[in-house]
Symmetry: C2
Subunit: 411 residues, 2 copies
Amino acid sequence: MTDITIDPALVEAMIMEMGAIGAHSGTGVWRTVYSPEWVAANDLYASWGEEAGLAVSRDAVGNVWAKLAGSEGGKSIVSGSHIDTQTPGGRYDGTLGALSALIALKVLKAQFGQPKRTLEAVSLCEEEGSRFPSANFWGARAITGAIHQGDAETTRGFDGETMAEAMRAIALDPAKIATAQRDDIESFVELHIEQGPILEHADLPVAIVDAITGLRHYRVTLTGEQNHAGAFPMDLRRDPMAGFAEIASGVINTAHRLGRPAVTTIGRVEVNPNGAAVVPREVRFTIDVRHPHPEQGQALYRLHENLMREVAERRGLAIEWDIGIEKAPCLSDPALVSTFREAAVDQGVPTLTMASGAGHDTQQMARIAKTVMIFVRSKDGRSHTPEEFSSIPDIVAGIKVLAAGLYKLAY
Amino acid sequence: MTDITIDPALVEAMIMEMGAIGAHSGTGVWRTVYSPEWVAANDLYASWGEEAGLAVSRDAVGNVWAKLAGSEGGKSIVSGSHIDTQTPGGRYDGTLGALSALIALKVLKAQFGQPKRTLEAVSLCEEEGSRFPSANFWGARAITGAIHQGDAETTRGFDGETMAEAMRAIALDPAKIATAQRDDIESFVELHIEQGPILEHADLPVAIVDAITGLRHYRVTLTGEQNHAGAFPMDLRRDPMAGFAEIASGVINTAHRLGRPAVTTIGRVEVNPNGAAVVPREVRFTIDVRHPHPEQGQALYRLHENLMREVAERRGLAIEWDIGIEKAPCLSDPALVSTFREAAVDQGVPTLTMASGAGHDTQQMARIAKTVMIFVRSKDGRSHTPEEFSSIPDIVAGIKVLAAGLYKLAY
């Protein structure tokens, strides 16, 4: 196939113009779903779609679609990502995938004309949950039919308003959410920044993602006996801090030893009573465990659970846990992985194939479509911060791979 | 010498009558310095002193003294403890030592008449800092001259009032605090509940205390790199939680391995940002380290500091600490330890000799007098709670040892 030609100056201009909407703390962006900034960003996205000669429409939750109809009809091949941000996030997380899809379709239309298969770019309305903490993947969930009647009335934001109120304030009707559901999407391709350091350490611009990690959040309570820090000898203590420290070291070392892509994180700890001179009564903590391969993930969960039980029993501590979040791994479609790896080779873009350790809209879309993701290198592996950054050459390489893969699928 | 005769019924009646003043949550007591309950408790203490034929006086901070003058004059031999409580505490912590001194002097006077040396019992006005958090040992510090002009005006309680206001409200004049200073105390003997489980585990009623522990509070900040819990591989993390867990396990194991009386406690932990899906940026924690022997305590501090430096360096973490509280060990007077051990043998009371892991008024009094303490067994090693309990037979055994030792010193 012919080379895909992407204009770096256009890409940079679009990123900067979009990043100016909700600009915050220098290089940051604060653009929560249904806010004035979000409305302006989607209006800009729609206007760019129209300028590119795509058929623009909006659905009941505010996802913006830009379609390049195929001559043979049939189910669509869709690419995109979310336009909302963290508070504040940066210019790239989510937005880059929405813009890349639009740029890819614009370039494909300009270079190759009408495809056989229908291509669509989409700006998904909300993924982060940064205004409504329980509403993440709202846009993708509307498309897959995973929002139930009444959810918008009971979903409340950090400021107390309901999702339904926020929708009505910008003339969206929550009663119509079900109409956003699609059953005509064959494939969904999401370009996203990596949010981790793997590409940077490998000195590569782009990755093809073959799985999104499965994860489990344990919420653990370890209970011992509260005692005076001076008057109670070490040998008579039932100290939940000692047990916690052993468990934390153990689960972190286990994941480290298993090696990539296994990860385990202790991010949250609460101690009761949390006084300097008191052996605590209770330590509560979370364990975030992730693995993209179903069986190895289950094995990792079992290793952690066995360690927790063993430490608690040996130290005379009571232990309880429940599981706050559980997500099965989301495997990419093997044929799509091959297609996009070949597209990268065709375009001379060196890649590696990796799993995503973070969650994405793609996981939702996988309920109704075959999926794959493309990652673009993140500086210092950072995201969800104004400091997140991906270079224009890396982004252009990513869009080339995206466009070339879409070409293989649609032309 | 003759047996000391202590009436268990009288002891129990006095403990219960005193415990009724400020009674709280069943068996608890809530009696903070200069409160109406504190005033009533000291009035009762004074009236009991007068009934016993002792010369009762009060000093400028409200310590109540009950004196049995000796025929030979000279410096006093004093016994007592604090009458204020935690919020709530129990019937025994502090109060038992004040009452035991009064009972001992009453019994000695009744059984043996006037001593050669002057004996005094004292109800110290405040030790816990439970109303004025920075004012602990207020009563003992007044006696040793450690309260500076103006301290009462700048010392604020949890409710915002100053110590000076609280004193004036019960007709004490803060300008006269300096007059409470004493330079005529030769020895100070404090009976106190153990507050730990050592006597219970040894199945003994009473201990002679040969040292009060030295202690150091480290306030440590361990800083790494905040990262996404999914997207950052274990091998590239600089995770302060991993470092904290290793340090916490290490310092706890070091103290455990050294054996009694070394203790090390991690009681307080704060994680930033403390989110389940975030590798933290920072873990702040305290380390409470105690040892009653000066050189071994210094060695323990060095072991902990070496471990902290080593772990931080190996894991690429920044570490900083300062020392919040530092107290040198307070060694009991060896001759007094011998005297009270012999007194226990004379009275047929089995004892062990141990260090105190908690702080006491005795540490303050050691600035101006030779000191020793007597511990009475605590049920389950508990204190600072309504559930604290010591049995009447154990308490009677403790008072016998106290009275017999005072007899050896004063008659």
